[in-house]
Amino acid sequence: MQPLEVGTRVLCRWRDGKHHPVKVIERRRLHSGGPNDYEYYVHYTEFNRRLDEWVRLEQLDLDSVENDVDEKVEDKVTGLKMTRHQKRKIDETHVEGHEELDAASLREHEEFTKVKNIATIELGRYEIETWYFSPFPPEYNDSLNLYFCEFCLNFMKRKEQLQRHMKKCDLKHPPGDEIYRSGTLSMFEVDGKKNKVYGQNLCYLAKLFLDHKTLYYDVDLFLFYVLCECDDRGCHMVGYFSKVIYLPFAEKHSEESYNLACILTLPPYQRKGYGKFLIAFSYELSKKEGKVGTPERPLSDLGLLSYRGYWTRVLLDILKKHKGNISIKELSDMTAIKAEDILATLQALELIQYRKGQHVICADPKVLDRHLKAAGRGGLEVDVSKLIWTPYKEQG
């Protein structure tokens, strides 16, 4: 039979045993097999690109191959007439969480990241399937698996190389200052300028799990806040966030400073509250700096959920207890959350109303409790008394 063309839409059996619609992104010949034996790299159109993978022909339901009839349909939302393919593209864009990129950069981004290069990595205790393409040096492109030293984050193509490395690597924690310790949880601050190779390694690693992270520029203007769980084997990274160093004369608008560039919880440690801890921590640093902060955009779908949860919890806790009236600016000063984010959160929860010629905030305890419940648990708490840190000052 003829191999499928790139761009074909068909149903494919996923890990849950059911068939899902996919689009063929790439194909390649099998090493062992005839001239027509291919494997296909598919994108599940209902899901984020992180679930794209190489599949075998037998997973595809060939009866469901779509005829390429591109008829005109009307989009209900905008009332525009377009082809079915165009409409589908727009719908899928909303599913995937790419709304915040414009069409041109989206296309460009997709082009060179369309196929994952590394399929799995080994990092410490876990072997993890990757989510996205990451621009490792070209000599690593022939490897499906990479092995990371969990402390210095050097990566190798064979397990034996990692084992040899572990014999000489004496690092047992990230190469920075420990600025927070509470129980087994520690936070390390790593200066990208002083630890360039570590910073780059961390970026290569993180890119495997972040779609829109860019490694275009070097790491020397970044600080990396690496969160670790510590035991007798060392301090094991569970997640991190990065932050741009703001120098007073390089800064354009102090009101618009970002207190976070990228944020990631490693897959084995997700849904345990570490992500929310990282977000809360970034705001505690902002409070210590005396500045209001906001994360860089675009946020991933998971990231946006976490932030909405955090903002909801922090703001609603204040509204429950506060007596008298309050301004958005005061809320911002108390929490270091940017005023626009506060407003967006309260509006999304419909807590800001317009009554008798002025805006008011609804703070009915029952309503607030409903929202708080929906926002989810608070994640691990930041004990500010255990934070030993002064804002970054550049040394000569």
């Binding site: 420990e178 084997r233 120098l247 999304a348 609804c362």
Partner: protein
């Protein structure tokens, strides 16, 4: 999300706008972040007769009263975390063996050591696939070369070559042309003889390394590879250095060195600051002197005003030759109203003054009144020589002079009495006001002060027995 819609301010705190489908609604003003917003704790506070918002009130009530979670509050996002599938992970079975439990966490927070590449002997290089394959082949008949040694030598060759290129001055900040090997075999052999490697083995390693370098056209050790240039558009190349413009901001801080040049610069800065300091000191002195001058002038004016009332003193000065001509020139008709009787009551306390002020006072002399004072002539000692000098241009301060009742009568001016307009009786007190006009103020006989003096600039003369008309 943008803030609530803009409005230009309508009559009811919002604009009336025609919305979708022609429905009229009130569009609120934009939200001011600094404005304090009332917090309504109860749903009941929302009860209103405004039609457009009643559905919202209902919704809020639904949310508050519902026992189970409903669709209503799923406004933030359609997805919850559990609905977003993610790729999977498994546990590595050799983990416990590969990572030894030798970490002792100190009680104090860990501090960063220096970067290990800069401190010591850590071998940064890890053998890659082709290195391992080559080594396996090399060791096939006999295990001549341990992997660790091979790794160490490879690493040191890289570092030595980098140093050689540094000395030759050919290190480029970004990757442009292919980077050649400058480290010769002999130099390498000599530098690494302490490793005690057999000559033949070392030669093989060197040749393998050199050949690899020629294939790669750049250093093998990642730390030594220059970054791609800023204008490289290949999306697969990463970690470009920031553009020069940005670096310029940080140049001062990043490249501050401790050398003779910066010492001289610092010296110059110090000299400049000292000069600036001296300049400012001189400036301060000048301004202080200026202030002193003005204060002295003010004091002088005050003294002169006081003395102006003492016409007798001035009269005496008239006795001196050469002076009367000045006086008659500038006497005005209003002077006739001046009551010379009053003058004698005015006692001016002699003011001590120092000789050095004399120069300043020369040019400022109150012009004494002319005509009226001539009637009464009293001799008074003249202790103050400056009274002799009169400035013809000095203005006559009429408002300091009291009225002469006789002259008033002669001119037919009658002070206001009780019979005039109101039933109450006033005491009145006359004075010369602005422009020489005559003013009668209501006078408080007990306090000897004007009642509700309209002209706030007017300071009445010292209290004295009332001179009723």
């Amino acid at each position: 999300m943008p803030p609530i819609d803009e409005g230009d301010g309508g009559s009811d705190g919002g604009d009336v706008v025609k919305g979708e489908k022609g429905v009229l609604r009130i569009r609120p003003r934009p939200l001011d972040f600094h404005k304090k917003l009332p917090i309504l704790k109860s749903i009941k506070d929302f009860e209103d007769d405004d039609t457009p918002t009643s559905t919202r009130t209902k919704m809020l009530r639904l949310v508050a009263e519902a026992d189970n979670e409903t669709q209503v509050h799923q406004v933030a996002s359609k997805k919850t975390v559990s609905e977003i599938p993610t790729p999977e992970y498994v546990i590595v079975d050799t983990y416990e063996r590969d990572y030894s439990p030798t970490f002792n966490q100190p009680t104090s927070y860990l501090r960063a050591r220096g970067v290990r590449a800069e401190i010591g002997e850590f071998v940064e290089y890890d053998l890659d696939n082709e290195d391992e394959d080559w080594l396996e082949e090399f060791n096939r008949e006999r295990k001549i070369l341990p992997a660790e040694m091979f790794e160490t030598i490879f690493f040191k060759l890289e570092v030595l070559d980098h140093k050689t290129r540094e000395r030759a001055g050919v290190i480029t900040p970004t990757l442009g042309a292919p980077i050649p090997v400058l480290l010769t075999f002999d130099a390498a052999a000599e530098a690494l003889q302490a490793l005690n490697v057999k000559y033949g083995v070392f030669q093989s390693i060197y040749n393998y390394w050199k050949e690899k370098r020629e294939r790669w056209q750049k250093p093998v050790l990642r730390r030594l590879q220059p970054p791609p240039p800023v204008n490289d558009t290949n999306p697969y190349n990463v970690f470009r250095p920031r553009e020069k413009a940005h670096r310029l901001h940080t140049r001062r801080m990043q490249r501050r060195e401790n050398n003779v040049q910066s010492f001289e610069k610092l010296r110059q800065v110090r000299r400049n600051l000292e000069q600036a300091k001296n300049l400012l000191d001189a400036l301060i002195k000048r301004e202080e002197k200026k202030r002193e001058v003005i204060e002295s002038e003010v004091t002088l004016q005050r003294i002169q005003m006081k003395y102006k009332n003492e016409s007798e003193l001035l009269e005496d000065s008239l006795a001196l030759p050469g002076l009367p001509s000045f006086l008659s020139k500038f006497a005005s008709s209003e002077d006739e109203f001046v009551d010379s009787d009053d003058i004698q009551h005015n006692r001016v306390a002699p003011q001590p003054y120092t000789v050095q002020n004399q120069a300043l006072m020369d040019s400022r002399f109150v012009m004494p009144s002319g005509g009226g004072v001539k009637r009464e002539f009293r001799r008074r000692p003249l202790p103050y020589t400056w009274l002799h000098k009169l400035d013809p241009l000095e203005p006559v301060l009429l408002f300091t002079k009291p009225l002469d009742a006789a002259k008033l009568a002669a001119a037919g001016i009658v002070p206001p009495t009780a019979s005039a307009t109101s039933s109450r009786s006033y005491n009145s007190h006359g004075r010369i006001g602005r422009g020489g006009r005559i003013i009668f103020d209501r006078w408080n006989p007990l306090m000897h002060t004007p009642i509700d003096s309209g002209d706030s600039l007017y300071i009445p003369p010292k209290p004295r027995p009332p001179t009723h008309n």
